[in-house]
């Protein structure tokens, strides 16, 4: 009995929860992120800390192959690629995934930090977990939210209802940008990690911050 019922129940689950896969991106509040940080960090108290890893160079051959593949597949259909990323466009959002995770660190072994920030911005939170590291700066209503994520665990749903994904050069790496009119999101793969900067600042300032990530 259980096997057949299990199959049917699994089908019911899949049917029922399918609608949530097409959900838009929610920016979690600072208080939520703090609570989750506390949860993760306290959990870490019971385990060994991961070793700090050295930065690695981007494998040039892999980059070349993926760029060629990207160009070929971009011409082919709705799914498209930018170096390191694949995109699946849905009606109101775009699912973004990584395409090149070979040799990428599985945990945040090295936390990158901005060496350039516009005047007046103050750090609100700087957090580092195993799989993500974030820097949040504010100045009045302006925000700079930087996230570093491990490539194997990266996946994102970006709100592209009324917004376009643009291919851009970020700090010497091919990446993409979404302009939300009042704010912008820049995302790129530096070979080891996925970075995104979400900010209300103009493009030039965001690109300068990206260039200063060391």
């Amino acid at each position: 009995m259980d096997d057949l019922l299990s199959t049917i129940v699994e089908q019911a689950y899949t049917t029922e929860f399918k609608e949530y896969e097409n959900s838009t991106h929610h920016f979690f509040s600072l208080s939520h992120r703090r609570r989750m940080k506390q949860l993760f960090n306290n959990g870490a108290a019971y385990s060994d800390k991961p070793e700090i890893r050295q930065k690695k160079k981007i494998p040039a051959v892999a980059v070349t192959l993926i760029v060629i593949l990207s160009l070929l597949i971009t011409a082919a259909g709705a799914a498209f690629f930018i170096h390191g990323f694949g995109f699946k466009k849905e009606s109101d959002h775009t699912v973004v995934f990584t395409t090149d995770t070979a040799d990428a660190p599985k945990t945040i072994g090295y936390v990158y930090s901005p060496t350039y920030l516009p005047d007046g911005f103050e750090a609100e939170t700087i957090e580092a977990y195993d799989l993500t590291a974030t820097h949040l700066y504010r100045k009045g209503n302006d925000v700079i939210d930087i996230t570093q994520q491990t490539k194997p665990d990266f996946s994102g749903n970006y709100n592209t209802e009324g917004y376009e994904i643009e291919r851009v050069d970020i700090n010497g790496h091919e990446g993409f940008k979404i302009d939300f009119k009042d704010s912008r999101m820049y995302v790129w793969d530096n070979g080891d990690y996925i970075f995104d900067i979400y900010s209300t600042l103009p493009d030039e300032e965001i690109l300068k911050i990206a260039a200063g990530m060391k």
Partner: protein
Amino acid sequence: MLGLYLSLVESESEKQLIEQLYNNNKQVMYNIAFKNLHNSSDAEDAVHEAFLRAIKQIDKISRIPPNKQSAYMNVIVRNISFQMFNKRTNDLSLDEETEITDDAILEDEAIGNVDHDLLVKFIISLPQGMRDVLYLKYFLLMSNEEIEQALCISPSALRNRLFATRRKIKDFIENRE
């Protein structure tokens, strides 16, 4: 209470599993909670609460196949958001504490005689609490004790809910035959 839960995360791999589950599922979980609660702050609370429960059951989750771990988180956050909504609206629990004898046996042969698509639709039409126990029991193959912990309900409440659920499915099948 938080310290008690966190002390259950003993190994680096378990901690990484929790963090990975969070990074991979937080958006979907938020949207599930938001659909019930219609409030961003409450939906974030539900996601947080779901991870507190997940930590409590980390040993079980680590034994669920990776492709089904998201299902566990989704069912739990929906259950939590439903409970939060009920509290907010002062609704009463549907689970009676009175013990009921479970005689609703579902025969494989009987299930095999029903159009599966109709049965799937019927399951989806069941009340949320019934669907949750079905998913945990028959999709994620959790034990009664594990489901009680996951949903924070008493053993008798679970037994009654399982009985009522199986009874409804049995009635549906019998009416179709």
